[in-house]
């Protein structure tokens, strides 16, 4: 047999096959993971969720003391005490037992029905929403919600990019899939264990009912009521009661004296409520703006809040599982691509096509 110097023999050629170039693993799941991760990072930034959620958390904390059964009962009792004091004054006036003129007491007697009506409505609105408030306050702290989007989003985006590169090299990228899966499970866990689904229906009625109350105009109106009440109490305390007692020792002053004995805690509670309302107008506006950020989609953000975590989480989890099977091995007995190639027809010149 003649040999050509420098060229491999046929036996050498078939016994030292070149490894087949790796077949790329599926890359589209990683593209999906990257897209989901980017959306999860960009959505809270684009909707201003970070500061708005922090303000929402501050508002929920600030209103905690005023959303209890005992607190609301206390305010209703305070209104009843004022009601009784006003009735007492009107009775004295009607019986001619009010000596002299008392402008501030007269203003209280004149304005109190409106004050009572207005404040009763406000306290009623608060009472009606106690359950809604409790559901919302049972949610994971509002300030953390945007982070629970952004942090899994960063993990997904990073794992997606690195996994994509591994997939290009024909690898399974199991480590990056695992990271992405953990982030996806976290996203699924947030609404399920964070109480978002029970809270979702509670947010909208709470917002609707508090919207007319938590405004600067409303606070200014309450401040005006406060001035009327404290001015009247000052006059009752400093001049009125003594004058009536002097002129009519047998006059009934029960309503007024009850007001005097309960005045300090009453004014403290009322001042605290007005202060909390005033200090949370901006926080409430931020919560409303956050809820309205998804209005173009046809629903309030709080209604869809749980799904905003759950849906991307499920998609991301599915994407991490997809393509986990090993790349399909080439067909053929020898099991090598080269063997297949060797069986391929050759050109007359001996070159493979």
């Amino acid at each position: 047999m003649t040999t050509v110097s420098g060229l491999p023999t046929y036996s050498e050629f078939v016994s030292n096959p070149e490894p087949a170039p790796p077949r790329p693993a599926k890359r589209w799941p990683f593209v999906l993971i990257i897209v989901l991760g980017a959306l999860l990072v960009l959505a809270p930034v684009g909707t201003g969720m970070f500061p708005r959620a922090a303000k929402g958390e501050a508002m929920i904390d600030a209103f905690g003391p005023y959303m209890t059964r005992s607190s609301i009962d206390g305010y209703r009792h305070d209104l009843q005490v004022l009601d009784d004091a006003r009735t007492n004054v009107v009775t004295l006036q009607q019986r001619g037992q009010q000596p002299g003129s008392y402008d501030r007491v007269d203003q209280f007697a004149r304005d109190y029905p409106e004050i009572h009506y207005h404040m009763s409505g406000m306290i009623g609105a608060i009472d009606d929403n106690r359950n809604n408030y409790e559901k919302l306050s049972g949610v994971v702290p509002f300030g953390t919600l945007p982070w629970l989007f952004a942090l899994p989003g960063v993990v997904l985006a990073g794992a997606g990019v690195l996994g994509f590169r591994r997939a290009q090299a024909g690898k399974q990228a199991l480590a990056w899939r695992s990271f992405a899966a953990l982030a996806a499970l976290g996203l699924i866990a947030v609404p399920l264990f964070g109480g978002l689904f029970p809270a979702s229906p509670a947010a909208q009625p709470l917002i609707n009912d508090l919207r007319p109350i938590l405004t600067h105009d409303e606070v200014r109106k309450l401040q005006g009521y406060f001035v009327t009440l404290v001015a009247a109490d000052g006059e009752l305390n400093s001049r009125y009661t003594a004058a009536v007692r002097t002129a009519h020792p047998d006059a009934d002053l029960t309503g007024i004296t009850t007001l005097e004995t309960r005045w300090q805690p009453m004014t403290s509670r009322l001042a605290a409520l007005i202060g909390a309302m005033n200090d949370n107008v901006r926080n409430f506006d931020a919560v409303v703006a956050l809820n309205d950020s998804t209005r173009p989609l046809g629903f309030g953000a709080f209604r869809g809040l749980g799904f905003f975590y759950l849906v991307p989480g499920i998609f991301a989890l599915a994407a991490t599982v997809e393509g986990l099977r090993l790349p399909t091995r080439p067909r053929g007995n020898g099991g090598t691509a080269v063997a297949d190639a060797a069986r391929a027809p050759t050109s007359p010149g001996g070159e493979q096509k």
Partner: protein
Amino acid sequence: MSARQLIAVTMLAALALVVSGCSSGDDASSSSGPEPLVGLLRFTPGSVSGDSVAGTWFRMVQPGGTPDKGPYMPNGDSPAQGGSTTLLEPGTAGGLRTGGYQSEPKPGFAQGNSLSASITKPTKFFAVEFGISTNPVDPQTQRRVPPPTVTNDGGKLTADVSSWAASWNDQEFNQGAPKPPEKQDAQVAGAEQVQKVWDWVAKQWFDKPTSDAAQGPSATGSYDAKTRKFTLQWTSLIVGGPFNGFTGVWHLEGVFEPAAAAPNSPAPSVK
């Protein structure tokens, strides 16, 4: 030049130097410039005579009103000017210390009545006593504020009383001048720590003012160096809380007693 002439010229030159030295000393004493008044501003108690008030007093202007014409919040417990003015009496320290704090005791209230009794005697305001304190961190705004300082410049006083804090019915109200910024909004989780780091870096590297810096007009007044009598007054808008938008009008009057800077420790609780 002869020796006699030389001696004469030298003496004249020496005399000129002495005279010029004396005259420069006189200039310095006549325009010594602003001087801090460190010590106690001992208050004269508020008093009323007919429709006029004297001494130390306070008014509260309702939103939309003016410090001169009101409408004022009528204090039913005050006999002065139909309740529009509340007269104040000196507290346990006798008045306001400069160069140090007279902090709010802890607890600060008993049944809504303020226990801050060092600067002024707790005074009834709608049947509940209010008190005054000065604190390193303002109780309402939670901002760092400097201790009160008063500067006399030829009989005109300028004062930083940004730490002046009123407490009433379990509520805190900054009533300082200049005003510290209002209480900071809710912060994004983690942002405060980043801000602190940035503030530290900014102060260290760029010498920037802190965000707590008070703004607006200072308190002003008059001072008689001979009698040491002073007046000090200012207005301060309430920002936040139940009296948001109301304005406090403060008038302090009394005699200045120089002393070392007051200690910064909180005032002992009273009652």
